[in-house]
């Protein structure tokens, strides 16, 4: 009897101990081969991190939202505003004007669409005001934001007070965003004899909306531009890239002071 009792006791102690162990370390820790490939090397970049977070991601959806309707509305508005698409010519607007009217009459009985068109029909009445609003939406994208949240509104106020602080550094993400924009714009001098010697530096100034206002080759490279046809072609390709990529997108408006002037070094070092 005793031996049976002591055996069951020892079982009980043993199993309890196991239970405690499992509770303390968890099951996976007891399983022998379940170790993660943990010893990873973490690469750490020491970067100047700006206090203001990157506004760009939240910018985009707003642009898209605003863009989609503005395309729809802009057609009827155009005739009154005389906006960009000059080539689209007079015939289109003429057709467009009657259409909203015709449609708005049967509209009330119909779907949500007519509502939009009603709005459009209303807009032309205070013509210039609506047109101005539209222009503002398109030109100054951050402004819609001011309506949405107060903090960025403040930021915008300071921004509109112009070059406000040169010392806010651009974050790595922002620089990368600029770099990536040039990939489709820049045709590299592939197959040149010594592409690594063809790095061209372009100095440019940008408007608050990212539009390239001036762009020229760094003055110390002007001599080579005149004498070396390979370099001249490479420098021209860099200048074309700058013009083609204008306006640069996603630049944080509050850091205008730090990106208003840029020097881009077009260096085909990754080329074979």
């Amino acid at each position: 009897m005793q031996s049976v009792q002591s055996r069951s006791l020892s079982y009980s102690v043993g199993l309890h101990a196991l239970l405690v162990l499992i509770a303390a370390f968890g099951l996976p820790a007891l399983l022998p081969e379940k170790h993660d490939p943990v010893p990873m090397v973490m690469s750490v970049d020491l970067l100047p991190i700006s206090e203001i977070s990157n506004v760009r991601p939240s910018d985009k959806p707003i642009q898209e939202e605003k863009h989609a309707p503005s395309v729809k509305t802009s057609k009827p508005v155009e005739p009154t505003v005389k906006e960009k698409p000059q080539e689209k010519a007079p015939p289109e607007p003429k057709k467009a004007e009657p259409k909203p009217v015709e449609k708005s009459e049967p509209a009330p009985s119909a779907k949500p669409k007519p509502e939009e068109k009603k709005k459009e029909a209303v807009k032309p009445n205070p013509k210039e005001f609506a047109a101005l609003l539209n222009k503002l939406k398109q030109e100054a994208k951050p402004e819609p934001k001011t309506a949405k949240d107060a903090t960025s509104a403040e930021a915008n106020k300071t921004k509109s007070d112009a070059p406000y602080d040169n010392s806010i550094p651009m974050s790595m993400t922002e620089k990368d965003s600029i770099r990536s924009q040039f990939i489709p714009c820049w045709r590299m001098p592939a197959g040149s004899k010594d592409p690594h010697s063809l790095a061209a530096r372009i100095k440019m100034t940008l408007g608050p909306d990212g539009t390239v206002q001036t762009a020229e080759l760094a003055s110390d490279q002007a001599g080579r531009y005149a004498s070396d046809s390979f370099f001249r072609a490479a420098a021209d390709a860099a200048l074309r890239a700058v013009h083609q990529c204008s306006p640069l997108k996603g630049l944080p408006p509050e850091k205008y002071g730090s990106w208003r002037e840029m020097e881009l070094n077009f260096d085909p070092q990754d080329l074979l």
Partner: protein, 438 residues
Amino acid sequence: MRAHFLLTMLTTMLVATAANAELKIDITKGNVEPMPIAITTLTGQGNSNADGERITSVIAADLERSGLFRPISNQAFIEQVSNGDAVIRFADWRQINAQAVVTGTITPLGGDKVRVSFRLWDALGEQQIAGKEYNTFGRNWRRVSHLIADEIYKRLTGENGYFDTRIVYVAESGPAKNRVKRLAIMDQDGENHKYLTDGGSLVLTPRFSPNTQEILYMSYSGNQPRVFLRDLQTGREESLGRFNGMSFAPRFNHDGSRMLMSIASGGTTSIYEMDLRSRSMRRLTNANGVIDTSPSYAPDGHAIVFNSDRGGSQQLYTMDGSGGNIQRISFGTGNYSTPVWSPRGDLIAFTKQYGGQFYIGIMRADGSGERLLTQSWLDEGPSWAPNGRVLIFGREFPGGSSGNRARLYSVDITGYNLREVMTPIDASDPAWSPLLPM
């Protein structure tokens, strides 16, 4: 006093750099897509031989074939250019993504003479970046088109063009057992094709002289295969001597004053240099029982690349102009042959055979940086375009009972833009001419 001055300078410089603290970004990635270019039809009346439309289409075809440009269809043009001398509406061209725009005029000058002019515009930089005019006979319209394409290519890539050139090659016909091989010549775009020999004797490895007026080649005429020199203007053919053995693989030096060739005799093939004025010969390699062949000069003539089996397998070697300082430069697996030094001097192109396949490849002159550009059942005999950017070579396809099919192909040294160079019949052994003299 001087110290004070220096201090002031230093302070000024420091202040200047501080004020100039603009954002600096390195752009190291771009694309290698062809550049969209709009080539408008030359305005004005030409004459019966030359008209704007034909010239424009040749320019567009040249640029397109280079793989570096993408001519935009004229149906997309917004601005219809009516005066080829006037400034274009840059915004209209940017709208259709044209980076460069070509305009021009053609004016009859009486008789068959015409004046052809062109202007190259940078649509993004909004300025004219090149322009030229040519007074010529209308019948030269093709040549003028190639010259204009060369100018455009040069201005936009920095590199000389290669459109005003010709290609000489071996045209093949007939069954494999009784193959007829004739020398043929054509413009680089396949136009103006003509045969130089009648096919009475087998010919191989034609090579252009630097002035493009002569070719060297090997012919089997008169029992012993040997090297001949042919004047393209007169059609006169002369043997460069009978030697104690077969002479082959000829090639000019950079100024046409000398040539290299191989002479095979008693199991040994050696490389010789001949002075073409005095016809005096100099032996450059001399290794018993070894085959040294396919010699090619560096553009400055101070070095020679050739292939040799002196190390056991066929590999590439370089030596100086007098045959000294022989060094092996190819170390990859497989056999290397037909090396050709680039006219730019930086690269050597070659044929490589490995694992039952043939490759056209390039390596730096010291043998480093080997890159294979093409691969097929049989690729061989590369020849450089005069700007050292494009290679032409022969490719054969197994044809079964009907015999193999042989064609010419070109490829860019980036490995892109592999294209067939159209020939009327089977073709092999192409050689690209230097730019034609004006």
